[in-house]
Symmetry: C2
Subunit: 357 residues, 2 copies
Amino acid sequence: MKLLEKTCQQIFPQDSQARDRAKERLDQLTMPHWALGDLMDLAVDLAGMTGTIKPSCHRKAIVTMAGDHGVVAEGVSKFPPEVTPQMVYNFVAGGAGINALARQAGADVYVVDMGVNADLGELTKSGAVIDKKVSFGTSNIARGPAMSIANARKSLESGIEVAFELGSRYDIFGTGDMGIGNTTPSTAIAAVVTGKPVEDLTGRGTGLDDEQWQAKIKTIKRILEVNKPDRKDGIDILAKVGGFEIGGIAGLILGAAAQKKPVLVDGFISTAGALIALKIEPFVRDYIICSHRSVEPGHKYMQEVLGCKRPLLDLNFRLGEGTGAALAMNLVAAAAAVLTEVATFAEASVASAENER
Amino acid sequence: MKLLEKTCQQIFPQDSQARDRAKERLDQLTMPHWALGDLMDLAVDLAGMTGTIKPSCHRKAIVTMAGDHGVVAEGVSKFPPEVTPQMVYNFVAGGAGINALARQAGADVYVVDMGVNADLGELTKSGAVIDKKVSFGTSNIARGPAMSIANARKSLESGIEVAFELGSRYDIFGTGDMGIGNTTPSTAIAAVVTGKPVEDLTGRGTGLDDEQWQAKIKTIKRILEVNKPDRKDGIDILAKVGGFEIGGIAGLILGAAAQKKPVLVDGFISTAGALIALKIEPFVRDYIICSHRSVEPGHKYMQEVLGCKRPLLDLNFRLGEGTGAALAMNLVAAAAAVLTEVATFAEASVASAENER
């Protein structure tokens, strides 16, 4: 059996017994009932994901997947494509947004070359970047598919491999992306999976004006017409309108879920990856934590498909790289701390509320 | 001159030059313009508060002020008043919600006895609790003022003293409260300062049913009729319808602002303290960061008076103790990291967007 299928077979729904035991403990903590709200809901999820009421979230990894996009030829981004490899160098030097936020959260950053359109041999040989390069950028999806079905599988399995390679050393993963032009394939994926009109999903990416925005909508509509992705088939969607880093993110999420590890999904691009993972294996949803709500208008609808009404943070981020996931790792660690470190009324000899005595 | 007046004279608006320099640097970071949204706005504020574009937010202190309330005689809380000292013991033992969340955020917790209705000599003598006890709980505000004007000043100055005692060792403060029954005085303060109807401000506290909620509204209306606080006079409001821990929180905020240190205001009770501080010295607003939006319905209106449209977190918290402030300290540290650790386009040799080159 192939790695992708084998991984999917290892993904099960959350452990309902662990969820029940977590709820039972949280009900008895020395505070008014469920007074830490969403953090307590998250603590129940962590118990369900990990199968224990003492989940550890100390060892944190952000995996930032990088890839290039042939569709930049259509003028969908304000930034030139050489920024993708330049930012990879910036990640390695520790000077990017993700480096600062991961350091703050106590998370390690792994950068993966999934399909950057540049020779990163210098960085992959030294081990500074993980080499999973499928190809030097995707084909232009406004003209045909992004990649072959074989390369779609390869990008997914590369992400799974990264998850398993890091799995023994980390309790929790966060996803991240770097790829000039990648809001365009992500919006196309969102349109296919959510069924919403392209106009409702398309944002300004990294800063388009009105005219550029209209052109982007037109391009995305053309992408969907040209490729006609099968909305039931995650691999088909990825191959036709996706990207190598998006496939890598989807694979990372599948690999995390197969290891019963929580995975914090970052912003718009990462959520497109999560939707691909969801289409391939619906149970993956039980291991996904939506970290934040992006400025991109389609993000809300995509998160709804993942069953997330309200992500942990809503701070007008639109950067990607894993920045939202890194920041939200603090909240996940806090949720685990509430479950594992706060005393119950009985343990602390504190009187409980009238109707709870 | 008295400590309160002297402190207020040391509170100035944010440093606009430092704000400008911070904006200038943030404009050039290796990311699409302002792509970390609210975190970058916060970074500008941190520069303005501290007067430097290299603000440090590493040394974090949560100050949890405890006090009791005579108004519990009216049946406004589901929890018995002995829970206040019991929770102080729980804080000292490290088993409360605030302990878990402060540990996660790397913050130290200081517990202050501002007016607990119990002898805490055992804890204050050992140094586990800071002794600033003004009295053994307030008087019943449904029958008359909470405290004398002299004791209102004493509670404010005690909070200021704590801020100055800790000031040399900490970069940032978070406020916290513990006091059974303290949503009632806080709602009364909110009604006076916001001018909103009591019905719109009153919540379920730690879990009241409909009948208890109606009774609480009635009690708060009576409190306002009996005391007629002067909405222009923070000390009068505190003395008539406040509490010792609320005064302590207001003092802590004033003391932090006088030292140009950011202060993260926790939930409903802490925000009532912030409103008292604001009425005493309007410039204090420039040093306040609203950490989260409480479940309590009045919180939104109170935060609006502080100039905060959207706090950093919105996670259905209703605990107090400083838990929201502790969790949000991660975000403040992250904002400082964005300003101080992320490279500019020039520093990292990354190409910027078309219209920015």
